[in-house]
Every structure is written in structure tokens, then in C-alpha cells.
């Protein structure tokens, strides 16, 4: 018997054959370093991974407003108060910008927010640590934004165009935040003994959580392989973590502070600052929702959402009335 000619094959297998061809073409574009745009065909897994990464990033910006917002009302000078308000405002802007970028992948921002509020979406674990002193506003800007920059500088070369462009823009602002944070740290480090103690304590609390921001070790990172192949991620978590430590330790030394790691040592051969073992049990607990502030952060977002319900309803009702008036006038 003659095999069926292609045009007579069943619809499903023809579709499958087309997908194989499309995926091969897609892989070739990735290999050639082309940028993937919203209207281009992409494998479903690629779309899903990007939605996951981008929405986590957007959620992180929005939840990240809370630990820093916690100190706006206590900022010790008007200049610091203004720069902190501006920084938190920037984070809101980044969140909005990345939510919009995620919508180019065919999801709705409201659904993403819903996932954050019902606890099914993840966000950066660092924001589940409390901010306990003014020095945390410096250390977060320096270490947390610094770690984010190391991540995002690489993400600016990611294969998905809208995400890459968002990262270029966001990185510029994050660099500004980092400089501002480091300046706060440097000021405190050369301040009174109480200020010095305050900033050292803050570094002690945020050092390890900052290293955890790069995610699980390469030996235990479930999504990394696929993301690397598609050039969504261009460096591994451990490579980025090492890069961050190498960049940061000289800055720590420059202001006369220390990091809470007795195993830290410079390796002259590799030119790396080798650091001690990360407490992955702590990381896993925080990711699972059991960090110091997970519940408070989600509760705060939920309260903002619930308390704003009547406001959103009013805006919708008003817009409908306006539209109706326009129709009647026409």
C-alpha cells in the first residue's frame, strides 16, 4: 500500500509535523542570535517560561515596594526621603512596564495579579526579609539592586525582544538606585559608632539573602537547561552569583565593612572570591512561603487590592457613563 501523501494525512499529525518544522526554524533563529518578537511563532514552552519569568519579575518589583516603603515615613533627612520615594516609585513603574511586556505573550495583567494575591505566583525571596533599620535602605539599594543588575544586564541580551528592551531601560534606573544605596552605606560607615553598627548589622542580615537572589545552584535548577538553550538565560545562576561576589567584595572593603562569611577567600588563580556554603534549606523555606515576612507581604498586597475594590469599581462605572454620554451625544 502506498503511504498517504502529506496533504491526506490526518489534521492532527499534519499540525504536529508543522510544529516540528516551526520549532526547527525557531531554534535556528535563536542560534543565529535573532530577537523573538510578540507576533512571531514560538514554542508553547518558550511562551510559558517567559510568562513565568517576566511575571515573577513584575511581582518582585511590586512586592519590593513594601520593605522600602516601610522606611519612607522615617527617612532621616528630606533629601533621603525624596530619593527613597522616587526609588519606590521607580519600582512601581518597573512593575507596570514588565506587566505590560508580559501581556505581549497573551496573558492578562489582572490574572497575573490574581496569581500573586492567591499565593500561586512567586516573587524574589529577598523581599520576604524585614527591613529593620534605616541602614537597610542603603544596603538594599547596594546589594539587592546590585544583584538585580548583575541578573538583568544578562537578561538585557535575552532572546525575547520586549523583555530585553525592558531590561535595558530598567537597568539604567537600577544602576542609579545602586549608586544611591552605596552612597547611603558609605555615609553610615564613616558616621557615628551607632551608624556604623547599624550598617554592619544590615549587611550581616542581607548578605546571604542577596546571594540567594540568583536562585538555586546550577546542580539543582530545574528550569535552567531549557532557558539556556533558548538563550532566555545566557549565564547560569552560579556564574552570575560569582560575578556579583567578585564585584561586591572590593566595595565592602572600600567602606571598611565585612560580610558574615568566615570562609570567604580570594583565589589568585581563578581571580574569584570564593565564598562559604549557602544555606539552601533557608532558601527553600522562604520560597515555600515560610520566610520571615511572606505572609505579611501578601497580606499587604491583598489589603491594598481589597481596599481598592470600590475605587476600581467607581472608575469602571464612571468610564461606562462617559462612554454612554458620548454615544447619546453622537
Amino acid at each position: 500500500m502506498m503511504p498517504n501523501p502529506p496533504e491526506l494525512a490526518s489534521g492532527a499529525s499534519a499540525e504536529a509535523a508543522r510544529d516540528v518544522a516551526r520549532e526547527a526554524a525557531f531554534d535556528a533563529r535563536i542560534a543565529a542570535g535573532e530577537s523573538i518578537e510578540p507576533k512571531d511563532w514560538m514554542p508553547e514552552r518558550y511562551r510559558k517560561q517567559l510568562i513565568r519569568m517576566m511575571s515573577q519579575h513584575a511581582h518582585s518589583e511590586v512586592v519590593g515596594m513594601l520593605p522600602e516603603g516601610n522606611w519612607i515615613t522615617r527617612a532621616p533627612s528630606l533629601r533621603r526621603k525624596m530619593s527613597l520615594i522616587a526609588k519606590v516609585q521607580d519600582e512601581g513603574g518597573h512593575g507596570l512596564y514588565i506587566y505590560c511586556g508580559t501581556e505581549t505573550l497573551g496573558v492578562d495583567r489582572h490574572d497575573l495579579v490574581e496569581q500573586l494575591l492567591n499565593g500561586t505566583a512567586k516573587y524574589s525571596s529577598i523581599f520576604n526579609y524585614p527591613t529593620l533599620s534605616w541602614a537597610d535602605m542603603g544596603v538594599i539599594g547596594w546589594l539587592v539592586d546590585g544583584a538585580a543588575i548583575v541578573n538583568q544586564t544578562i537578561l538585557a541580551k535575552t532572546s525575547y525582544g520586549p523583555y530585553a528592551r525592558a531590561m535595558i531601560r530598567i537597568c539604567k534606573e537600577e544602576n542609579f538606585h545602586k549608586r544611591q544605596g552605596y552612597e547611603i552605606v558609605a555615609t553610615l560607615a564613616k558616621g557615628t559608632p551607632a551608624q556604623r553598627a547599624m550598617v554592619q548589622d544590615s549587611v550581616n542580615r542581607f548578605w546571604w539573602p542577596s546571594l540567594m537572589m540568583f536562585g538555586p545552584s546550577d546542580t539543582n535548577s530545574p528550569n535552567s537547561g531549557e532557558l539556556r538553550r533558548w538563550k532566555v538565560k545566557r549565564k547560569t545562576n552560579d556564574e552570575l552569583r560569582q560575578r556579583f561576589v567578585n564585584l561586591t567584595i572590593p566595595q565592602v572593603q572600600a567602606v571598611g565593612l565585612t560580610v558574615p562569611d568566615p570562609d570567604l577567600a580570594y583565589n589568585a588563580t581563578t581571580e574569584d572570591w570564593e565564598f562559604g556554603a549557602i544555606d539552601w534549606a533557608e532558601f527553600n523555606e522562604v520560597v515555600r512561603g515560610n520566610g520571615p515576612c511572606n505572609r505579611e507581604r501578601i497580606a499587604a498586597r491583598r489589603a491594598a487590592h481589597d481596599n481598592g475594590q470600590w475605587v476600581r469599581a467607581a472608575a469602571t462605572a464612571h468610564a461606562e457613563k462617559q462612554a454612554q454620554n458620548k454615544t447619546e451625544a453622537a
Binding site: 511590586v62 515596594m65 513594601l66 516603603g69 519612607i72 515615613t73 522615617r74 527617612a75 532621616p76 533627612s77 528630606l78 533629601r79 533621603r80 526621603k81 525624596m82 520615594i85 522616587a86 519606590v88 516609585q89 512601581g92 513603574g93 512593575g95 507596570l96 506587566y99 534605616w134 547611603i184 555615609t187 553610615l188 558616621g191 557615628t192 551607632a194 551608624q195 499587604a300 489589603a303 491594598a304 487590592h305 481596599n307 481598592g308 475594590q309 470600590w310 475605587v311 476600581r312 469599581a313 467607581a314 472608575a315 462605572a317 464612571h318 457613563k321
Partner: protein, 247 residues
């Protein structure tokens, strides 16, 4: 002149602080950003005004010294600015009533005889015109939105109305600065304010409370509500815990 500038500065310092309390807790992300932006503008205006006040006083007090190292009885802000934020509608109504006042005030001061103050006014009027557009838009949305939103903002308006008279009081401080070429015509300003407010309230289907009770006053003399002390306790805690420290 010092007293006059401190009044202007404290109004904006306090209302900016209240506005900043919304950061991260707004009804939609766009409003988190907008409210933070407005808080930033008002805090910036406060910083410029208090710095100028310190210069005029000539005792070496900076804007920070004035903001962080005065007690509540030394604050000169109008009472309306210090009330707690309430719900989003309360914040918007307060903002709207204050913005209308502020825009008209800057209009007068932009043409005043004091160059530095006129410069501050010229910059601030642009900011406050935007703030007024923002608060007016929300007045319309909330007033002419749902039955619930209408009831909420009308109740806020009823509460806040009694605090508006203080914004147009005239006293010896105004006479003193008038001699320096700084004239704020409170009477005509009050009338213009009222017509600005009435215009938006009409569109928002809201009404001025029929019997709001007597106007509340005292802020310009340091007689505040119980709320300001709590606000300052929070605002000043870090600065006051480390006297002499730089930040």
C-alpha cells in the same frame, strides 16, 4: 517672613508625608506611582521653602533642622494637611481641596516681589496644576461612579469642609510680608477657590455640606489635632535618635 515661609513649607511637608504613606498600598499600581509622584513634589517644595525660611531666619537652621527638630506646637501647617489618610476617597478629597488652594496661592506668589520665593512658586505652580488635574479627575470618577463611591466621597467632603476656612485666614504675618511685596489676597482667592471647587463638585455630582458646623482652626498658631504628634513621632524618630549625625 520666616513665619510665612514656615507655614507654606509645613503645609507641604505634612501633606506630602501623608501622601507618601500610600506608597505600596494604593488601589491600583498606576495610583501607587501617581501618589508617590505627588508626595515627591510636595516634599520637594517643602524642602525649598524651609531652606529659604532657615536662610531668612539667619540662625543656621537648615530645611532638615526645621523638619526634624521642631516639636508639634512649633509646626505651622493647616490642620487639613495633618489628618490621617483615611480611605482613598478621603485622601483625594483632601488633595483636591488643598490643590485648588495651592494653585491659586502660587499664582499670587509667582508675581510677588521676592525673587527666590517667586522662583519656587513658578516651579510649584506647574507641579500643582498637574496635581489638581489628577485630584479633579478622581473627584469626578468617585463622585459620579457607583453609589458606594459617591457616598464615601460625599462623607469625606462633609468631614473635610470644616478644615478649609483655615486656608484663607489673614493675620499679622500676612500684613508683615505684604510690606515686603508679598501680597496674598485671601478674600478674592477664597472666592476663586470656591468657584473652582464648585465647578468640579458639580461634575462629580457632589454637594457642599449644608451645615458643616463652624470652621476648625489653630494650625497656624501651633494648636494642632492629636494626629500631628503621632505623625511627627514617626517622621522624626531616626533623625532625633542620632543628634548631630549625617545621613
Amino acid at each position: 517672613m520666616f513665619e510665612f515661609l514656615v507655614r507654606l513649607g509645613d503645609d507641604r511637608l505634612v501633606i506630602g508625608h501623608r501622601m507618601a504613606e500610600w506608597c505600596g498600598h494604593g488601589p491600583i499600581l498606576e495610583e501607587d506611582i501617581a501618589l508617590a509622584n505627588i508626595a515627591l513634589d510636595y516634599t520637594g517644595q517643602a524642602s525649598a521653602l524651609l531652606a529659604l525660611a532657615g536662610d531668612m531666619e539667619g540662625k543656621g537652621r537648615s530645611d532638615d533642622a526645621l523638619a526634624y527638630f521642631r516639636d508639634e506646637t512649633q509646626f505651622r501647617n493647616a490642620l487639613i494637611t495633618e489628618l490621617p489618610i483615611g480611605d482613598f476617597g478621603f485622601t483625594i478629597v483632601r488633595q483636591f481641596l488643598f490643590d485648588c488652594h495651592s494653585v491659586l496661592l502660587w499664582e499670587a506668589l509667582a508675581a510677588c516681589g521676592h525673587a527666590t520665593l517667586a522662583g519656587i512658586a513658578a516651579k510649584a505652580i506647574k507641579e500643582d496644576t498637574y496635581h489638581l488635574r489628577h485630584s479633579s479627575e478622581w473627584m469626578r470618577k468617585l463622585g459620579d461612579g457607583t453609589a458606594e463611591s459617591h457616598a464615601r466621597v460625599q462623607a469625606s467632603l462633609d468631614t473635610l469642609w470644616r478644615y478649609t476656612g483655615e486656608l484663607f485666614e489673614h493675620d499679622a504675618v500676612d500684613d508683615a510680608v505684604a510690606a515686603l511685596g508679598i501680597v496674598v489676597p485671601h478674600d478674592t482667592r477664597a472666592a476663586r477657590w470656591r468657584s473652582l471647587v464648585d465647578g468640579v463638585l458639580r461634575e462629580a455630582t457632589l454637594v457642599v455640606p449644608a451645615s458643616p458646623g463652624p470652621m476648625v482652626t489653630g494650625g497656624r498658631r501651633g494648636r494642632h489635632t492629636e494626629h500631628l504628634g503621632h505623625m511627627l513621632a514617626e517622621m522624626q524618630i531616626v533623625a532625633r535618635s542620632h543628634p548631630g549625625a549625617s545621613w
